[in-house]
């Protein structure tokens, strides 16, 4: 089965978002993404998995499937959840190196950079960092 690369997934997302003329449609789509993302099981919404933010909370779990790192995430705010779903779609089920090197250009291309700035305090910026840390940890583990 051909494995879609991170860059290909980013291209798909940029394509999807290019359909939107105005911000309302774009945010409506992000809201729909958030509403349709399957929630994390309650037992995973704990202190270990939480990514703190002032404004909204994000929970992130990671596990390895073969050589790939798989992510599951959730948030208590729907827009954050929609953005979380995009990041998981891009970064989940890839090898550690691909995750670590992912440029994540789609963030600027679809105009959601403001939501991912470190000062936004919605947990997303910290979540990306945590995803890369998980990838790094798994890479180190696999080397041993």
């Amino acid at each position: 089965m051909a494995h879609t690369s991170i860059l290909q997934i980013e291209e798909e997302i940029i394509e999807e978002f290019s359909m939107f003329d105005d911000w309302m449609d774009k945010y409506q789509y992000i809201i729909e993404l958030g509403q349709s993302l399957p929630p994390l099981a309650e037992e995973h919404k704990n202190e270990d998995n939480i990514v703190h933010g002032c404004q909204s909370r994000v929970w992130l779990t990671a596990d390895s499937v073969g050589n790939n790192v798989c992510f599951h995430a959730d948030s208590d705010a729907i827009i954050t959840k929609g953005l979380v779903s995009l990041l998981v779609r891009v970064l989940s089920n890839h090898e550690a190196d691909d995750i670590l090197n992912a440029p994540l250009n789609f963030i600027d291309e679809i105009g959601i950079r403001e939501h991912l700035s470190p000062t936004r305090s919605n947990g997303l910026n910290a979540m990306i960092k945590k995803m890369k840390i998980y990838a790094l940890a798994l890479k180190a583990k696999n080397k041993r």
């Binding site: 911000w23 945010y27 705010a77 729907i78």
Partner: protein
């Protein structure tokens, strides 16, 4: 020193013309600035004062003998007189310049705490306090082996005064209380709180950050031991603040920050300290900011608290009624005595989500826990949305907020 004449009639559009920041578009929509509890916008006179200071006067204060340094010092010290008059402080030297409310509270917690708080002593704060009136007390309690006690808040967002009376004891050394809640808008019965604390010989620090933008404060009438506020909330520059302290306390308290200006003589075997107020004003301050703060105070005095109070009461009533009439909107903080702050929720929509959409409509409100996490935890909420009005806001802007809320409801399927 209330020498500025008060305007005869209040014309909000004329006043708005004094505030340059208000006249811009955000995401292509006119700005509706409802985040005044976070910081106030600045009138032209304050902005111009800052520019004038840097262009004509800029020099270090208290340190030079040349003309500009004296001019800077004079302008810098004028603000102290204006604050003394604003607060009705008995002595000029009871007015200490700080960098803000948080700095002022930390100063008292550290300095008063060092001298007067010991093992087994108690400090009382309330459940509605801003973090800056909680954490400094936690730090000193931890250091000294003292206990922090908390006055609970009821469902309406009012202090439980009966519980407060039971918390007071002979071990209470200080009560830290917010005058006006930034999250709920509640105005607390501060005078009564002080009277009760004094029966036990406890000092009271009043966090006045949200008080002075809206109503006058008379520290002698309140009989508070300490009163703190921030310049940037009262239409002045950021990085400025005032700590008022009763002379008897400030004289007894050891210095907080050491350095230039707070000393008399420095020797390696012994250093002696300045008298008040300079004892607590180490280092080069935010001179431009303090000079600008005078212009902010003058501006408030030129409008007059009567006009301010009337306009804000009108906005609070209009805003409360408007929001209450939207299905699914719940107001958090329904105290009998409130300032022009409305915290609310829309259905079960997360404040971050709603705030993001409102931002796209040019509406600036605050979302989150407003630096009052214990209060939010008490209400079982991740946060709220907060609209906080100043005298330059209008009912038309509130109509925009209402329209925005309906838009949010539609986008989240709650129409």
């Amino acid at each position: 020193m209330k020498d500025t004449p008060i305007i005869k009639s209040f014309d909000v559009h004329k006043i708005r013309a004094d505030f340059p920041t208000l006249h811009q578009q955000i995401h292509g929509k006119p700005l509706v600035y409802f985040d005044n509890a976070a910081t106030s916008q600045k009138p032209k006179v304050v902005i111009e004062k800052l520019q004038e200071y840097y262009q004509e006067t800029n020099s270090n204060v208290h340190r030079g003998i040349h003309f500009l340094s004296q001019k800077a010092t004079d302008e810098y010290e004028i603000t102290r007189h204006k604050v003394q008059a604003l607060l009705n402080a008995k002595h000029l030297h009871e007015v200490i310049y700080t960098s803000g409310t948080t700095a002022g509270i930390n100063l008292v917690a550290h300095s008063f705490g060092q001298k007067f708080v010991g093992e087994g002593d108690e400090i009382i704060v309330s459940e509605m306090e801003h973090h800056s009136n909680i954490v400094p007390w936690q730090l000193i309690c931890e250091l000294k082996g003292a206990t922090l006690k908390v006055i609970p808040v009821n469902e309406a967002g009012e202090l439980d005064m009966e519980a407060y009376k039971h918390l007071l004891s002979d071990r209470t050394k200080l009560v830290g209380i917010v005058h006006t809640s930034n999250s709920l808008g509640t105005i607390n019965p501060v005078k009564e709180i002080i009277q009760l604390a004094h029966q036990y010989g406890a000092a009271v620090l009043v966090d006045g950050a949200q008080a002075l933008p809206h109503a006058p404060v008379d520290v002698q009438e309140l009989d508070c031991d300490f009163f703190v506020f921030s310049g940037h909330k009262i239409f002045g520059p950021t990085g400025t603040g005032i700590l008022y302290g009763k002379e008897k306390w400030l004289n007894a308290m050891p210095p907080y920050m050491g350095g230039g200006d707070m000393i008399k003589v420095v020797r390696f075997d012994k250093t002696t300290y300045s008298d008040l107020p300079h004892k607590f004003e180490a280092g080069t301050p935010n001179i431009a900011g303090i000079v600008g703060l005078a212009a902010g105070i003058d501006y408030v005095n030129s409008i007059g608290y009567d006009h301010i109070g009337q306009q804000e009461a009108k906005l609070l009533a209009y805003g409360t009624q408007a929001l209450e009439s939207i299905p699914g909107v719940r107001i958090i903080g329904t105290a009998k005595h409130k300032t022009s702050v409305i915290s609310f929720l829309i259905d079960d929509i997360h404040p971050y989500d709603a705030g993001t959409i409102l931002d796209r409509l040019g509406i600036a409100i605050r979302t989150g826990h407003h630096c009052t996490q214990p209060l939010m935890a008490k209400f079982g909420l991740p946060g709220t949305m907060r609209a906080s009005f100043a005298f330059y806001n209008t009912t038309e802007e509130i109509d925009q907020l209402v329209a925005g809320i309906y838009r949010v409801k539609k986008m989240f399927g709650k129409a």
